[in-house]
Amino acid sequence: METIYVIIAEMSQLVRMGLTGALNQMGYPLNIREITDVEKLKIALQKDHKRLLIVSATFLKTCPPELIRSVVSKPKQTCLVLINDINTGTIPLRGFDEIIEPPDIAKTIFRKLEKLIQVLSMPKNVSKSVEEISAREKEVLKLVALGMTNKEIAELLFISSHTVITHRKNITSKLGIKTIAGLTVYAIINKLIKPEEIK
């Protein structure tokens, strides 16, 4: 398994120690860095690798907004966790993959962090199954998921209804999904269509 870089940006020594200890107990190959000032964070973020960035709300207040924005704009590369140590309202709670709240018990914190570590340690090519279906089939699948009939699809793609049916049969046997509703779920999960596109 690939080593995952963890950055803990937090003023409190006590919190840093606690988090480092907890993370080390999880048994993943982690490279943990503790950071206490913005300049060091900037430098640390220049390197381009998969990482878990844990930042406290207090620390975040000292950061220029564009620094965090640049991190968030590269999803899948960085997972961003907020330690919500001050009364929020000042910080919009969006864009974080996980938020650790002060009342969270150890188990909850563990679970939240572990989920993200699992995401980061996943192989890059997650959507492998999509590649099993051909580009044309993907196109057909998209239209099926959007609720179009065979006839409509045939007209749109300049193929016969018969060909559409063949494509659909192949899609169903490759993916193991029979119903239109099921194909729609698949298409949304694999980002072939957006939920709001469906009528």
Binding site: E98, E114, M122, I177, G182, I188, P195
Partner: protein, 231 residues
């Protein structure tokens, strides 16, 4: 010991704590037809054992009572249980997998509605029809009324509209096994899959009783009524 049978005996209304009583005694306590009970339990226990002829020998009232109890079990026990597990799965997942899990929740709700509609149709339309056929058959009284009834709706219609409710269940399993975006709690997803597989098997056994026992039996009666009806 086949613990899967526990859910079948509870469907007959038998609760736990039956001590060392024999099957016969327990059935007597709960006023259950012991032969029918044994045939059903055995057919669930051994997939290759399906005593079509024996089962067809029981009254339709008994068979339908059993089918109704299974319906009740699906809608009021099994489905809520799976829905609960799915909810837990969303509760325990990282924020960015939530969207997909909501989709799956929604998909499951659609399945639930489909199943309810299917069951409702059987209970409201099919079973009363079956009872009237049985009555006419047993009293050997093929009236004009019942013949019209058969002409309007017969078991053949039922077979045709007995659509595939399993398709969505099949898809749901595959989506969870193959396409669920990580990370999700794998223990929970396994538990959900386990329940889905169990429900699927149970529904298949249920459909087997409908297709192999109920339908032929009623068809036979329909035929008799039509043949013996004289204007």
């Amino acid at each position: 010991m086949n613990y899967h049978l526990l859910q079948i005996i509870s469907r007959f209304g038998i609760s736990l704590g039956f001590g060392d009583k024999s099957v016969k005694q327990v059935c007597r306590d709960y006023s259950i037809d012991v032969d029918f009970f044994l045939e059903i339990v055995n057919s669930y226990h051994n997939k290759n054992y399906f005593p079509k002829k024996q089962l067809q020998g029981f009254s339709l009232k008994l068979i339908i009572e059993y089918l109704r109890k299974s319906h009740d079990y699906y809608l009021n026990t099994k489905i809520p249980q799976i829905a609960q597990l799915l909810k837990q799965l969303s509760d325990f997942s990282a924020t960015f997998t939530l969207e997909s899990l909501h989709l799956i929740d929604k998909f499951f709700k659609e399945y639930k509605n489909e199943l309810s509609v299917h069951i409702q149709r059987e209970e409201d339309k099919v079973y009363p029809y079956v009872f009237s056929i049985e009555e006419a058959f047993l009293t050997k009284n093929p009236t004009q009324e019942i013949v019209t009834c058969i002409r309007n709706y017969s078991m053949e219609n039922y077979e045709n509209e007995h659509d595939n409710v399993e398709d969505k269940l099949f898809d749901l399993k595959n989506i969870i096994i193959k396409y669920l975006p990580l990370p999700v709690d794998s223990h929970l997803s396994h538990a959900i899959l386990f329940e889905l597989f169990r429900l699927e098997t149970d529904l298949r056994d249920h459909a087997r009783i409908e297709d192999k026992v109920l339908v032929p039996k009623v068809k036979y009666m329909e035929k008799w009524i039509l043949e013996h009806f004289t204007t």
